[in-house]
């Protein structure tokens, strides 16, 4: 059996379960026993340097007045623009076209619809087609519109060729949508190459992180080939779009 890892030995010291096999090895192995002694020494030095009363007072103080430490910025985020700007550029008309089976051409059930509109500085707009690589010109932005007869929940995620995932909302829970409208921001995708966007719509709220994780898993499975991304393993309906960034 290979030696116990640093973390396993620390668990052993703390009395956590590491499994009988690893415990037996650590009891018999000189190298692991030496490492365990080093961990015991570390704890002794810690207790000598910081007695419990000082520790407890410090923790209670920190608990009363937590320090605010800025979290790192997301690796990549969609660049959002205010509604006022987007509204001037894009005329949204999410008119659902029903097929005989009750599905909108974009795959959303019933009369609910999701559409992605592309707009740029020229003022002209066009509708993005799902499952088709859509070229974007410099400065062009994408707006997501919806039409929902009852409250639905929406998350939009995207991944670039480097595997960086961005989402809207960035974290937390899905965004409730009702009636006709568009997301509060329009988006410009940063970087170059392809960007694959998935919009997920569900009847129940769901976690943004679950969708991000599912997209990341698909990206890994496709080994970064954005034209080969399959359906995400999340519940609800989903639309896939691919954009070629300028």
């Amino acid at each position: 059996m290979s030696h116990a890892t640093e973390l396993s030995l620390r668990k052993l010291f703390a009395g956590e379960d590491v499994g009988a096999e690893l415990k037996a090895h650590s009891d018999a192995c000189d190298e692991c026993k030496a490492k365990l002694r080093a961990i015991e020494d570390e704890q002794r030095r810690f207790e000598a340097a910081i007695p419990f009363e000082r520790f407890a007072a410090g923790v209670e103080r920190a608990n009363r007045t937590p320090r605010h430490v800025a979290a790192p910025p997301p690796r990549r985020a969609w660049l959002g623009y205010a509604v006022a700007i987007a509204a001037g550029l894009l005329v949204v008309a999410a008119a659902p076209l029903l097929l005989r089976d009750g599905r909108h051409p974009n795959g959303i059930k019933g009369t609910d619809a999701i559409e992605l509109h592309i707009g740029g500085a020229s003022g002209s707009t066009r509708k993005a087609q799902p499952n088709v690589s859509e070229p974007l010109s410099s400065g062009e932005r994408v707006e997501i519109t919806f039409s929902a007869q009852a409250t639905r929940y929406l998350v939009a995620v995207s991944v670039d060729e480097a595997g960086e995932v961005a989402s809207y909302p960035e974290s937390g829970q899905s965004l409730p949508v009702l009636g006709k409208g568009h997301l509060p921001d329009s988006f410009e995708f940063t970087g170059h190459g392809f960007e694959h966007v998935v919009v997920v719509l569900n009847n129940e709220p769901f976690s943004v992180e679950d969708v991000r994780r599912a997209l990341r898993a698909r990206y890994d499975e496709a080994r970064g080939n954005l034209t080969q991304l399959g359906r995400l393993d999340v519940s609800g309906e989903q639309l896939h779009y691919t954009f070629m960034k300028p």
């Binding site: 890892t5 620390r10 608990n63 430490v69 800025a70 790192p72």
Partner: protein, 175 residues
């Protein structure tokens, strides 16, 4: 499902104190060691350690349910210290630059530095997620699967991050 490692103690101030004493005796050295390893300053490390245990207290119910409180604490400590270091980026960068100079001049080059110190000093060049993955993989000696589970990422994503780190620094990634 793994059994929680910490027993549930009924409430009250003395009970809370007993629980804190248990945390102190079992995990104090490990958490303080992680903070000191990353921050390289005993005072800053003590403050950071207090922040970490304060988070455990604030999240007591969830924390008690953890199958490995140690893993939870080390994750929080690592994340917290990396954020603190990022906030003090100028200081970290200066230290890194200084280290690069020392490496060029010292006999034995990078080998003369302790491996863990080399890991720490090369972190500044990488993003937050890679930094956490590197610490848990190289310092805690967690497997790629364990790191992926801890950071809630897929194994291929963690592999990619570690490979990028390894290629840039000459470290080895065991598949």
């Amino acid at each position: 499902m793994a059994r929680p490692a910490l027993e549930v103690i009924e409430g009250g101030k003395s009970a809370g104190r007993a629980w804190l004493k248990e945390l102190y005796s079992k995990y104090g050295g490990a958490v303080f060691g992680r903070c000191q390893y990353l921050l390289k300053n005993p005072t800053a490390a003590e403050d950071a350690m207090q922040d970490v245990f304060a988070r455990a207290m604030a999240n007591e119910a969830g924390f008690r349910g953890e199958s490995s409180p140690l893993t939870w604490l080390m994750k929080i400590a690592t994340h917290h210290c990396l954020n603190l270091m990022r906030g003090d980026k100028a200081g970290w960068k200066a230290e890194y630059t200084q280290q690069e100079l020392v490496r060029g001049e010292a006999h034995g080059g990078p080998q003369a530095l302790e491996a863990r110190d080399v890991v720490r000093r090369t972190l500044a060049k990488f993003d937050a997620e890679t930094q956490s993955a590197v610490i848990h993989y190289y310092v805690d000696e967690m497997t790629m699967e364990e790191v992926a589970a801890l950071l809630e990422r897929s194994v291929p994503t963690i592999r990619k991050r570690l490979r990028a780190y390894a290629e840039a620094t000459g470290h080895e990634v065991l598949e």
